[in-house]
Symmetry: C2
Subunit: 398 residues, 2 copies
């Protein structure tokens, strides 16, 4: 854990500090460059915090955009400035990894609505000088992608060699291909869907209710009141975390094993290892994530529904696309089961797209996309290498 520090005369906790003054590159967009949101609001000014790895080639043709999942952020391949832990996607990004930073220029932006430096509900509202809180407008997955497109314009990158992401990141990948098909050469949407299921909305609503039930949430004004809904957010995280793992993974990791004892205590202590593990997941999450941001990002996922924006016909969304797709799912992922990925593949086929599909056999559940699952990593590597060859990128990325 990185210590609190003084910013503008205020002592801020590490996570609070990152909100307005991130340990990342920042693209500022002024009043004259609003982000036009689906809810009808023009957000301006706003900022996008992002990390980059590798070097943009002279042709500006080797850029890979990596879109992060709900509770991840832009710190994919560097030490995290709040937790001090290694990057969040080292299995995928780095020298010699599938997203090879010796070869590609990798851009990882924090999403709009996030809490690691891109404008979101924890950011300071310039009109009030206080955190936005629930006055922040509702953002959608298309809004996140629109902001990323503005960032790429700012960076002078017209066409992305690839867009890659899992879970909420995969939703952004799909939205990129729908909204800006001509800007995406290849796409790798992983463990995701074109719309959020009723069960997934239910789990998100549960998490939001847990946050909002915490009196310390203070109707979203906790920063000003000096409180923080740690308990509610911790419960929300516990619920979400169960959905990220499979029953088999939980059984393999913990089974019914007791925590540092052989016999039950006959109490409400964390007798079982799985209980202490979940409690730890809850308590560590609240130190690095903003509660309101959690509300906004879960809402964005719930609203996501590509077909709804195309007369209910998913194939229409991808009609005529020239992007090369590789769609990946995991057998034990019950949050975004393989059926969701098959629906993407069917729609892409119907739209005449070039698409490959891989269902990876693993018991690691939804979380598998972040882990070093060799078959998955190999497929990602092969897909990006083949796409790079088709794009005429040499092995050095130039």
């Amino acid at each position: 854990m990185v210590n609190a520090e003084l910013v503008n005369g205020q002592t801020l906790q590490p996570q609070e500090r990152e909100v307005d003054h991130p340990s990342s590159l920042v693209a500022l967009f002024g009043k004259d460059q609003p982000l036009s949101l689906d809810c009808g609001v023009d957000l301006a000014p706003f900022q996008i915090a992002y990390q980059t790895y590798g070097t943009l080639n002279a042709e500006r043709s080797n850029a890979i955009l990596v879109c992060h999942a709900l509770t991840m952020d832009q710190h994919m391949a560097n030490v995290h400035p709040v937790t001090g832990k290694p990057g969040g996607w080292l299995a995928m990004i780095g020298p010699g990894q599938p997203i090879d930073t010796d070869r590609f220029f990798v851009i990882c932006p924090n999403v709009i609505g996030g809490c690691m430096g891109s404008t979101g509900p924890a950011s300071t509202n310039p009109d009030t000088g206080k955190p936005w809180g629930l006055d922040f407008p509702i953002v959608t997955i298309p809004d996140m992608v629109r902001a990323q497109a503005m960032l790429l314009d700012r960076l002078g990158i017209d066409t992305l060699f690839a867009v890659v992401g899992g879970s909420m990141g995969g939703m952004q990948v799909l939205q990129w291909c729908v909204a800006y098909p001509q800007r995406v050469f290849s796409a790798l949407p992983i463990a995701c869907a074109t719309r959020h299921s009723a069960q997934n909305i239910a789990f998100h609503e549960l998490g939001r209710q847990a946050v909002m039930a915490d009196p310390d949430w203070q109707q979203g004004r906790y920063f000003e009141r000096g409180t923080h809904p740690h308990r509610g957010l911790g419960v929300a995280r516990m619920a979400a975390h169960i959905t990220y793992l499979s029953d088999a993974a939980l059984h393999r990791k913990f089974g019914r094993r007791m925590q540092d004892r052989d016999l039950p205590t006959f109490s409400f202590d964390a007798d079982f290892q799985v209980e202490s593990y979940l409690r730890h997941q809850g308590s560590s999450f609240v130190e690095r994530f903003d509660a309101n941001s959690y509300l906004y990002l879960t809402r964005a996922m719930d609203y996501f529904d590509i077909a709804a924006d195309h007369d209910g016909v998913l194939a229409k969304a991808f009609r005529g696309t020239r992007t090369r797709f590789c769609v990946v799912s995991f057998t034990s992922d019950w949050l975004f089961p393989t059926a969701e990925s098959r629906a993407i593949v069917h729609a892409l086929n119907a739209g005449g797209a070039r698409v490959s599909f891989a269902e990876i056999e693993t018991d690691k559940g939804h979380d598998a996309f972040l882990l070093d699952v060799p078959e998955f990593i190999d497929i990602a590597r092969a897909f990006l290498q083949s796409a790079a060859a088709a794009r005429g990128l040499t092995s050095s990325g130039t």
Copy 2:
């Protein structure tokens, strides 16, 4: 909802009234008849509240014990005294139903640790005159069954014609067959397991943390403080309720349909029908259930592990049993999936038991056991009729 009323000079809410003075028959056990609990405590005095339906025959051979699930109670086939709603298992119990009240004498006790009249954490601790709260000893599934056996002794019933129950009720059925094999002629354990899985413990722990995170929980002393952890218990219920349904059932019932509107509100209102449904499930539950009781009963399920008490060998638990079994699971039940029922069947087979097994095809999830699923009802009826014939019970139950 039934109104509050005056008991002993105090205005009690309907649920609070039921705790010590239930609208049920009550068997009182005095200081000389303690319930010997697994945690080492002798609980005395204590009481068991129970409903009965039908008539015990002269041979006392037509009694069916029905064991209730976690959030159910003894009001299986009568109007509920707190909610005013019809009985909880009318699909199974009643005249002409599989558990035919014209033929069988049906006993439905509230479990020890419950909150509808059997002694539990909401009951008055005779030593203090205040609710037990967390001073109540931890109870287990074997404890529940031990108390039921004492009730049957009191009623003069030596052998049960059948023991029937789903979910936590099914755990009690299995425990009956293990602890008192000679007292059970036939057993119908439904949608259950011989031990709680890591994922199920995780969901229970989530629910407990939600309750205990609510400041109104007051370390379990909410009755005395005049508060109630409605928000925490509501969140716990929402989480549990998701696990009771299948993804397919949620999709069929709600899909992504909006609540009384066509377009999203771009807010945290319950835009989706599944959100309002869940909120309703949470808020209605807290009016009829005690929060501490929820902690105790989930804990009892977590601790349940028949094999652990038999050198880790499940078959040992059932060796030599003469009970006739019918084990039932549902294809879309992901809380107690069919694999758990198969494990029961394998152990019974290894123990030389007489067992039939049915996996019912339905998309209704775990909740299916409470619903009018024709194939399930038919199988329950056929099993009980065949067992009744073997028991020499005539169609009138005499």
